[in-house]
Symmetry: C2
Subunit: 134 residues, 2 copies
């Protein structure tokens, strides 16, 4: 298991992209991706580690997006950490055994080549995303 990306919720993807480019000198990786499952637009930023580990900017598409409430409540910011796992079914079983609450079903992670992914709250009430390395 290893850290794959840092998810940050933002109000406006283009504005956030400009901020990271102008202030940090970071470049975006590809174009924004529309994720109709999570109802978010996703843009990956290169934060000095290439595609091995990225900053993932998430802008909710509408009020149905799981991150919409977070944006409303906080104005945006660090939201979750995403980890790569070798076997997502096994990882889910392991996390469950440690008291995690699995949020929904395994679903394709649109911005990451539709790799199987799942959201969960760990036993320590930490929101994380697991993505299977396929």
């Amino acid at each position: 298991m290893k850290l794959y990306h840092i998810g940050k919720v933002v109000k406006d993807l283009e504005e956030a992209k400009k901020y990271y480019k102008d202030t940090f000198g970071f470049q975006s990786i590809g174009e924004p991706v529309e994720d109709n499952i999570q109802k978010v637009w996703v843009l990956k930023m290169n934060i000095g580690h290439g595609e091995i580990l990225t900053l993932e900017l998430l802008q909710p598409m509408n009020e149905q997006s799981p991150v919409y409430k977070f944006l409303q409540k906080t104005g945006g910011g660090l939201h979750h950490l995403s980890y790569l796992v070798e076997d997502i079914r096994r990882a889910i079983a392991d996390f469950k055994e440690k008291g995690a609450l699995i949020l929904g079903e395994v679903a394709p992670s649109i911005a990451y080549g539709s790799k199987p992914s799942v959201w969960l709250y760990t036993g320590s009430k930490e929101l994380i995303e697991l993505i299977e390395e396929v």
Copy 2:
């Protein structure tokens, strides 16, 4: 400039270490370091990228610690991102030009070989730490 660590404030370093070991299989890097400047105990965790990019666990030593209020308010969680820069004086000037508020003076980062470091709020109200790659 590149991401160096993800700072997470925790109530108890040993408990957090156990959580990451038992639940994620992550190992700590070295022993907890006492940082008397920031008034925190610091423990680095290997999150699959060695020492290039770590999870930094921070436990406030007392109420004078800059992260004490954050812990009280939130119960702990993701706190800041830290970036490596080549020239900290130049980076500070650049961030200032982009509207950042520099918090205090450049000081040795105890847990990172006393490399020069500084805290700042970016123009987008994001708390970050810069550490000079020496």
